[in-house]
Every structure is written in C-alpha cells, then in structure tokens.
C-alpha cells in the first residue's frame, strides 16, 4: 500500500500548488508598463503612444488564429505595444470585459442588451474585426462530386425530419445524382461555440420550425445527432462516420479536405462556402449603428448564407490614456492593414463600406471626454 500513500501525498501537494496558481490567475493581469524600454516614436500617422503599453484581450477562439497573426505583425511594427490575447471562448470574453479584468474582448455572437447593461465600465462598443463562413460538411463514400442543399432540407435534417440520404426532398435538388439508401448521422458541436451560434442563427432564419423548437445559441438542445468537441471533434465524427453531416469553420473544412455542401442562398443561387461569399453577405446586409447584426441568409447573388462577424469589445470611455491610445490604434490598424492577414487563413475581409463606419466608431472612443483617435 506504499504506492497509495505516496499518491495521496502527491495529490495534496498538487492541490496546494493548483490553488496557489489559481489564486494568481484570478487577478487581472496588471499592465506591465516598465518591461520594455520605450522607443522613439516613428513618423507614421496614427501610431500608438510612444510609451510602452501592454494590453490584455480575451474571448472568441474562432478569431484566435487571425488575432495571433495580427498581434505579432503589429508588435513587430510598433514594438512599444504588446498585446496578449487569450483564446478562452466568447462567453468568457464577454464575462471578463464586463468585469473589467481585460482591456478588450472578442466574441462571435453579439452581446445581448441584458449583457450590455451588466457591463461595469459603462458603454461597450462592438467593433467588427473579421468575418467567417461556416461550411456544411458531409461524408458519403463513393458519393457525388457535388451535393446541393436547400435551406429547408438542411433544417429538416438537423430537426430529424429527413433521416435518409435518398429522401426525395434531397434528390429533388440533385437531379442526375444517385444518393445512397443510408441513414443520416448528424454531427454538431458539443462545446459552446460561436460556430454553432452562426449555424443555428441561420437555421432559425430559414425555418420557423427550428426557431420555435430549438432556437439559436452557442449551446443548444439539439433534436438529433452526436456532439463532437471543437471543430476537430466534429470533423473527426464526419470523417469517421459514413453517411454523416455536420458543420465546421470554413478554414477547417478546407485544411482537412472534407467535402462540403453547396448551399442555396436567399437569391436562389447555388454557392460554395468561401471568404468572398461571406464578404458579399456582409456588404449586402443592412447593418445598424451598433454593429450588432446577423448576416445569415443575406441577399445578393454571391452571398454565402451561413456567415457571421467577430466583434471586438471595447469600452467607449477608456480609463487609462496610454492603454486607450494603444487600443484604438491597434483596432484601427486591424480593420485596415490587418485584414490582409486573414486571407490565407480563410477569414473574410470586412467590406469597404463598413470599414469607414467602423472608423467613425473608433473615433468615438474617448479618454476624459477627449477622442483618442484623431
């Protein structure tokens, strides 16, 4: 029994250590302004203050690959600004910015009025940073090269109303294609996810039945199917299960070479998921001044119907001048030059007509009543 005693002891020590660490982590990481020596300002328009500043952001894991690149590129240009982004999930990002433990958040489902009213630091601005498309992926061995799917059929599959691949409703959109007489296995995300939000936002938009029975959200009570953890989990289920259908971020579908469905958009055109299609959807959508908008099922011949924004969450009234300056300048850079970094990662560019509006939004961010961005 010596082994058991040792294990218990190790357990105690691990517990004590974990607690000590948790204690450290719970505090908001204070900005370390003394770490890097300040550099001489360079002659560039709209550059951050010459003081070295470090910002902490947290939230959406969907935007993390892009954010990492942006942060890196920006730091190599303006070394006085250090950004530390933690990919902890949109929900956690919203919580942390509301509690003011971070300098900015990022989310792929907009904050609700209720959440906004609970923010401790006043008004939160939701700044579109990027766009993403969600691909519907499937696995049909020896299946068709192209599988077309209307919005109604997609909703019916996820509602459990269509259960076979050779259902006449699916066949109607795919004339000349032989579909197997096999059961459909539905795969969805089991973890709370912005991808699920965009996907169910779309289903709620196109199917009244879905809207009343299931609704939209980051985690849902799915009528049918199995849950996979993360994009890799859903991709794993779809790749491993013949006859399955699921949804993942576009980049994930492309990198893993999983077949994806051609969707019918609002204008009745068949479109494949693409970053361009998401941009087209955003350009065509009517976007309110607070930028909280859903762009699923957007009009336009090129618009891909299952797409959504990622928003940066920033307090309108900044309480630290140097941090505020750093923040607005970083965001300003992110919506312009930063957009180019998204392309190889399959993020969609913000449409031009929106960028000018976001700029105006950034200019409304103040410190002691003074606009930070000139």
């Amino acid at each position: 029994m010596f082994l058991t005693k040792r294990k218990v002891f190790t357990g105690i020590m691990a517990g004590v250590l974990a607690l000590a660490l948790a204690g450290c982590g719970a505090k908001a990481p204070a900005a370390d302004t003394s770490k890097t020596p300040s550099e001489q300002p360079k002659a560039v328009v709209n550059e951050p203050s010459s003081k070295s500043v470090s910002l902490t952001g947290a939230g959406s894991s969907f935007v993390n690959p892009l954010m990492t690149q942006m942060v890196d590129k920006y730091h190599s240009k303006y070394s006085q600004l250090q950004v530390n982004y933690q990919s902890v999930g949109s929900g956690a990002g919203i919580k942390q910015i509301s509690e003011q433990t971070i300098d900015f958040g990022a989310t792929d489902g907009p904050m609700t009025d209720d959440q906004l009213s609970k923010a401790k630091g006043g008004k939160i601005l939701q700044i579109p940073l990027s766009l993403g498309a969600v691909a519907v992926v499937y696995n049909l061995p020896n299946g068709p090269q192209e599988l077309k799917m209307s919005s109604a059929n997609l909703a019916d599959i996820f509602l459990g109303k269509i259960t076979k691949w050779n259902d006449p409703k699916i066949a109607a959109d795919n004339s000349g294609v032989t579909l197997p007489d096999s059961a459909i296995t539905v795969a969805h995300r089991s973890d709370g996810s912005g991808t699920s939000f965009i996907f169910t936002d779309y289903l709620s938009e196109v199917s009244a039945d879905w809207k009343s029975k299931v609704g939209k959200g980051t985690s849902l009570n799915w009528p049918v199917g199995v849950g996979g953890k993360g994009n890799e989990g859903v991709a794993g289920v779809v790749k491993q299960t013949p006859g399955s259908i699921g949804y993942v971020e576009l980049a994930y579908a492309l990198q893993n070479k999983i077949s994806y469905v051609t969707m019918m958009n609002k204008d009745g055109k068949w479109v494949l998921p693409s970053a361009k299609g998401a941009s087209a959807a955003a350009a065509a959508a009517k976007i309110p001044d607070d930028m909280r908008v859903s762009i699923v099922n957007a009009p336009g011949a090129d618009a891909y119907p299952i797409a959504g924004f990622v928003w940066g969450l920033v307090y309108q009234q900044q309480t630290d001048k140097d941090k505020g300056l750093g923040l607005v300048n970083f965001m300003e850079w992110a919506i312009h030059e930063g957009q180019d970094l998204g392309e190889p990662l399959h993020y969609a560019k913000l449409p031009d007509n929106l960028v000018t509006r976001i700029e105006a939004m950034l200019k409304s961010i103040t410190f002691e009543g003074q606009a930070l961005l000139k």
Binding site: G192, S219, N221
Partner: protein, 315 residues
C-alpha cells in the same frame, strides 16, 4: 539520546514533525471545505430556481434556460460501471498473472507497460478513441454484439461507435493501471506460507489462488477498484471525445450519452448568462456529492469485507 533538544518529554524534531504534518493534513480538509462552499455559493441561483427537481429533470436547454442533471448523472454512472467491471476483471487478472504465474522478466516488462498506460494524457486516449476505437466498435464489435446478444436491450439499435460503450471502454483502459498496480501490490503482500500451505494440501494453482490469495487480498483489491472509480467519475476529455455528447437516457449501450464532467468542460467557457453558469456548477456539486457517497459506500464495503473470514473454502 541525552544530547537531543527536548521540550517537556518530546524531542523538538518530533514536535516539528507533528505540527507540520498536522498543518498539511489540515490544509487538505481546508481546501476541500473551501471548494465545497465556493461551489455551493456559485450554484445558489440554480439551486433556488430549480430546487431538487434539478436532479430528476431530463431537459438541458441553454436556449430556453431550462436545466436538469438526470441525463448527465445517468451517463456518468453507466460509463463508470462499464469501466469498473472491465477494468476490475482485467486488472485483477493482470495482478494474479504478474504475482503467481509470470516469469520475473515478463513480470518487469508487463508491470512497466501497465504503469505506462497511466502516463498517457487523456486527450490522446480521446483521439485514439475517435480514430481507432469508434470505427472498430461501429464496424465489428457492436454488430457482433447485436447479432449474438441483441435480445438484451443494452445491445440493441444501430451501432454508431460514439456511444456509452465507447465511453466505458476508454475509461476502462484509463483506470486499468490503477486497479492493476494496487491489486498487484496487495496480492504480493499475501504471505508465502499461506500459498505453500494450500499447495501442500494438494490444491492446484487456481485453487491456491482462490483459497489462499484472493480472500486475503480482497479488501485491498476493492480499495484499488474504488480508486479507479474515482478517476472514472471525474474523467473529462477522453470521455467527451467518444461518448457522443447527447443528453439523453436510452437503454442501449450503442446510443450516445453525456457525462457530468464532460458537459462542464464543454459548456463552461461559453456559458453566457449567470443561471447557465450556476447550473453547470451545480452539476459539479452533484458530481462532488456522488463521488463522496460512492467513496463512503466503498469504505463500508471494504470494512465489511475485511471483517469477514480471511480464508476461503473449497466447494
């Protein structure tokens, strides 16, 4: 002896040992109480809103703000039970083989391999589960079980590979090292004289194991299995990757289910409103309570077994 510092009757060293060890033991209880109280307070909103009905409600709908834990409790208990049965049988078998049958060289190698299983991170088990175990179950094992044992409700339905059986099997592999290592140590403590006595009376090797070894070691083996159960109840990552993550209660082991630890890990980061978070913490609290209850039961079981006769008898 005279040269040692003494306070009263006790040497200083003993005094220091006594208080430091007391502090360490006390800190453990303190941490447990602290976590318990914190969880209870964070779960408050959910406890007041749903009351005891939380435990019996089968609905988990974050969109409509209705939460119940029953499906998760069911999934956790069923997968843990599967793991316990399989790992218990194999673990004790491994321990008997290593102590009573294996040649020394084999003994060292197999012990090493079994303990190596404990060092593999659970996400790796999960990946192995998705890519190897699930297809194997779906294409071969589950159809076979359905064909021969399909009259049992637990082996009915379409094989999917991402289900309670997969979750239970993954857990079994994960707790096997705990069960096997402890059983091996316990069996090794059985006095040689007892074995020799049984053999001298004309017992075969199996009879010797059954009469002289297992009864002597059974309380320790039970203890080992219970430690394994503790790990199975709380395992998160590997289970969530193969269990299908569907909050539902279906009799067939071929149907997807969900476990308590998995739902917490899956939904915690995106729990966007207070009641939702509170409900997840309450699930954690229930897991805490279940673990506590099962451990208490296990203690009772070990005690009652330990009090029984030490020797076995031939029938």
């Amino acid at each position: 002896m005279a040269s040692r510092t003494k306070i009263g009757n006790i040497s200083l060293g003993d005094l220091v040992l006594r208080y430091t060890s007391f502090l360490m033991a006390g800190s453990l209880i303190g941490i447990m109480a602290w976590i318990g109280v914190t969880m209870f307070r964070s779960a408050g909103e959910s406890i007041t809103k749903f009351g005891p009905g939380f435990i019996t409600n089968r609905v988990w709908d974050p969109v409509r703000e209705e939460f119940g834990a029953l499906t998760f409790i069911y999934g956790t208990l069923v997968t843990s039970l599967i793991a316990l049965v399989i790992a218990g049988l194999i673990g004790v078998g491994v321990a008997i083989f290593l102590n009573e049958i294996a040649a020394p060289k084999i003994k060292v190698t197999v012990s090493f391999l079994v303990e190596l299983l404990a060092a593999i991170p659970s996400v790796v088990y999960g990946l192995w589960g998705i890519f190897i175990l699930a297809p194997l179950l779906r294409n071969h094992i589950e159809p076979w079980l359905g064909k021969w044992f399909g009259f049992l409700p637990i082996f009915q339905g379409t094989p999917s590979g991402l289900d309670m059986l997969a979750g239970g099997l993954i857990l079994a592999i994960m707790i096997l090292p705990t069960v096997a290592a402890i059983s091996r140590e316990v069996i090794a403590t059985v006095p040689i004289a007892q074995r020799e006595a049984a053999l001298a009376l004309g017992a075969t090797k199996w009879e010797m194991i059954r009469i002289a070894v297992l009864p002597y070691a059974k309380s320790g083996i039970l203890g080992g299995i219970m430690l394994g159960l503790g790990r199975a109840l709380g395992e998160t990552m590997a289970v969530t990757m193969v269990i299908g993550n569907r909050p539902d209660i279906l009799p067939s082991l071929f149907s997807p289910a969900y476990s308590m630890a998995s739902v917490i890990a899956n939904e915690f980061t995106e729990a966007t409103y207070d009641l939702y978070l509170s409900a997840l913490v309450e699930i954690g609290l229930i897991l805490f309570a279940i673990t506590f209850l099962l451990n208490a039961l296990a203690r009772l079981l070990v005690w009652s077994v330990a009090r029984g006769p030490k020797g076995g008898h031939l029938h």
